[in-house]
């Protein structure tokens, strides 16, 4: 009976057009929209890339050469340097092929035509080089083997003005939108969960009444429907993460499997939340869907789906809310994988999700376990 119920739960579930739209197509459309809307900003201003720089040497400076060589040898070189003469350098600058020209003379000087992030970094680099020139030169003369660590420190200081992640992915607000998008899909699972109670309660639907008249125990039917909903929701979460990461090329860091795990657990949380909400009141199905969608969207709003700074605002004024708001918890679990090298925050969020899931499922089962109804 369980597998029979589960089979038809999946068949009917995947044929629900609203399910296919809101949980599969809509996130893809919204994700694509995010990518189109914010993608250029991200790639231009956020994504790390080496800054094309022309270097014009008026006097030879072997230490500067040594520093530049060290910078270019790193995995993510700060500068992409081209040594050239002044005339060619000016041409490259006018054509936009380089972001600035560094003149190497008695002192370093910089020539730029714009004031964007690249130019700010070049300016910081030149200033930092000037401040640390003495140390660099002394190190080069006394102990050349330590020059790399000095260069690393210089690069780090320069990079700091750009909020380069020190962990695995991009903690930028742009990526946060995609975490929130995944959390939104998870919360949409509440509608699927809601249908489980409606379709199994004799006092909520004709289908529920018919199923309650059958010799299949309600517990079996509910368990099959819950399992089916978890499977369906997990499929949606996997699709959403896969599309976001592999098609939209959003960098979720190198712990992708854990991102999938967090997303799937988030989806299960969403289903459980809807299951509980469906059981706890006797509103009409339409009213239930309306309320559960509104609650889900409000939860997503608080997590920053519509306004990136919202999570920060909540953290400042009602910090405990961020720890229990389902959408925030789901988004934060994935965010923490990127933001922190250790797993403590991730584990904390996963535990919160598990607790909400267990509480909602248990409460839903307790409420719906009733065998007879006072009213139909």
């Amino acid at each position: 009976m369980f597998f029979h119920d589960l089979k038809y739960m999946l068949i009917s579930g995947f044929r629900v057009k609203s399910f296919l739209f809101w949980l599969m197509l809509f996130p893809i459309l919204l994700g694509t929209l995010f990518k189109v809307a914010f993608g250029n900003v991200y790639e231009n201003d956020v994504l790390f890339r080496s800054i094309p720089t022309a270097v014009v040497e008026t006097t030879s400076d072997p230490v500067f050469h040594q520093v530049i060589d060290s910078i270019e040898e790193s995995d993510e070189p700060l500068l992409d340097v081209e040594y050239t003469d002044e005339e060619n350098a000016m041409k490259l600058l006018k054509e936009g092929k380089v972001s600035g020209i560094i003149y190497v003379g008695d002192k370093l000087s910089l020539s730029v035509t714009e004031q964007k992030m690249d130019q700010v970094i070049l300016k910081t680099f030149v200033e930092q080089y000037g401040v640390n020139e003495k140390i660099i030169k002394e190190t080069a003369e006394k102990d050349p083997s330590k020059i790399q660590s000095v260069v690393d420190k210089l690069s780090e200081d320069v990079s700091a003005c750009r909020d380069i992640p020190v962990t695995h992915g991009d903690p930028d607000i742009y990526v946060q939108y995609f975490y929130n998008l995944i959390a939104m899909v998870a919360m949409y699972g509440s509608v699927t969960g809601l249908h489980i109670t409606v379709q199994n309660q004799a006092n909520l639907s004709a289908l529920g009444a018919r199923k309650n008249c059958s010799p299949t125990p309600k517990s079996v039917s509910m368990l099959a429907d819950l399992t089916g909903s978890f499977i369906m929701q997990s499929a949606c979460m996997i699709l959403c993460v896969t599309f976001t990461h592999f098609v939209l090329k959003i960098d979720f860091g190198d712990r992708l499997l854990l991102v999938y795990a967090a997303a799937i657990l988030g989806g299960i949380l969403g289903v459980s939340f809807g299951f509980f909400f469906g059981a706890v009141n006797r509103f009409s199905l339409e009213a239930k869907i309306g309320i559960v969608m509104a609650v889900s969207m409000f939860s997503c709003f608080l997590s920053g789906l519509m306004m990136g700074q919202m999570k920060g605002i909540i953290a400042e004024h009602i910090p405990w809310l961020n720890k229990i708001n389902p959408a925030t918890v789901v988004a934060d679990s994935m965010f923490s994988l990127n933001m922190y090298s250790d797993y403590s925050r991730f584990i904390s969020r996963i535990i919160t999700m598990l607790v909400i899931t267990v509480v909602c499922t248990a409460a839903g089962i307790i409420i719906t376990r009733r065998k007879k109804y006072a009213n139909l």
């Binding site: 038809y8 009444a209 299949t216 065998k371």
Partner: protein, 316 residues
């Protein structure tokens, strides 16, 4: 004597101050088509819901197949088929998938189920609509699907709660014929309706309900014998004088008359040749008349006489 399939004893169901079932009792025998007849709100559906253990009740006992009915009486539930008033099918499953799904809640063996589904499809005449989704079916076909989902597992007791509401006459006849066929195949039927014609047509025994009480029970002939009216004569006639009406009222077996300016209605109790005697009076006074027809008493007359009100509203 046939065995009792359903035995309801002194059932009381209250909704706050409202008494929905007031010491209601029934004894339905094997092989019967038992009709529960009553106006909307009389307690028919409440009785069915209590019988199916969907609804908690305040007092009384319910036995089905000689055993106490309860929500976990799965062995009893296995033998019951239910067709509710509201269509209960999955919109996203086709006709055959819907029947297979609900049949699967009763029968686990796939091969047996496949045969049952096929039989049910043929029984309700949905052979050409197997792959159709419910929303593509007309109201009548949808009702047939609803019935197929309830009877596919070949239950011994079939409960139909107003299955013909909002159904076209053709589908209604199809459904009623189907119920009689199921009965002939051995199933005991409980049929609730506020359409007295349907109940008269198919039920072997009838209980009439009003305000949660059983006000009469018996075969349709037994019920009709309970009331004074045996024949109602209607005559389309203009300008009938008071004297003529008085003369007709004085005829033997006539116990009441009514005249609305166009139609004279004469109520008779017992006796034969009532119509001839009435027409004789009119001819004696040289009265021209139009259409003349005689009506035998209906269950509505039974209900009217017992409760003082019509069984169903005019819009029904």
């Amino acid at each position: 004597m046939a065995n009792s399939v359903v035995k309801i004893n002194n059932l009381v169901k209250r909704y706050g101050e409202l008494i929905a079932l007031d010491h209601f009792s029934l004894d339905i025998k094997e092989g019967e088509v038992f009709g529960l007849l009553g106006p909307n709100g009389s307690g028919k559906t409440t009785t069915i819901n209590c019988l199916l253990s969907l609804l908690a009740f305040d007092k009384g006992d319910i036995e089905v197949f000689g055993k106490e009915m309860s929500p976990t009486a799965y062995d009893i539930k296995k033998e019951i088929g239910v067709i509710m008033q509201n269509v209960a099918v999955y919109e996203e499953l086709t006709v055959s998938e819907n029947i297979d799904y609900f049949c699967g809640l009763y029968i686990t063996d796939k091969e047996e189920r496949r045969k049952c589904v096929e039989d049910a499809i043929k029984f309700v005449g949905l052979e050409d609509f197997r792959k159709f989704y419910p929303k593509k079916l007309s109201g009548g076909l949808l009702r047939r699907l609803n019935i197929a989902c309830g009877i596919a597992h070949k239950p011994k007791l079939i409960i139909l709660d107003e299955p013909t509401v909002a159904v076209d006459p053709q589908s209604r006849n199809n459904i009623l014929e189907g119920i009689q066929k199921l009965n002939k195949q051995g199933a005991t039927i409980i049929y609730t309706s506020h359409y007295m014609e349907e109940v008269e047509q198919i039920c072997t025994r009838i209980a009439i309900m009003d305000k949660g009480r059983k006000i009469a029970e018996g075969t349709k002939d037994e019920l009709k014998r309970m009331i004074r009216n045996t024949e109602t004569v209607n005559i389309e006639i203009l300008d009938v004088s008071e004297n003529i009406i008085k003369e007709i009222s004085a005829l033997p077996h006539v116990y009441d008359t009514a005249y609305d300016g166009e139609k004279l209605t004469v109520y008779c109790s017992g006796g034969k040749h009532n119509l001839i005697r009435i027409l004789d009076v009119l001819q004696k006074h040289d009265m021209a008349f139009g259409r003349v027809y005689s009506e035998l008493p209906t269950l509505n007359d039974v209900f009217l006489e017992i409760t003082g009100k019509a069984l169903r509203d005019k819009e029904d």
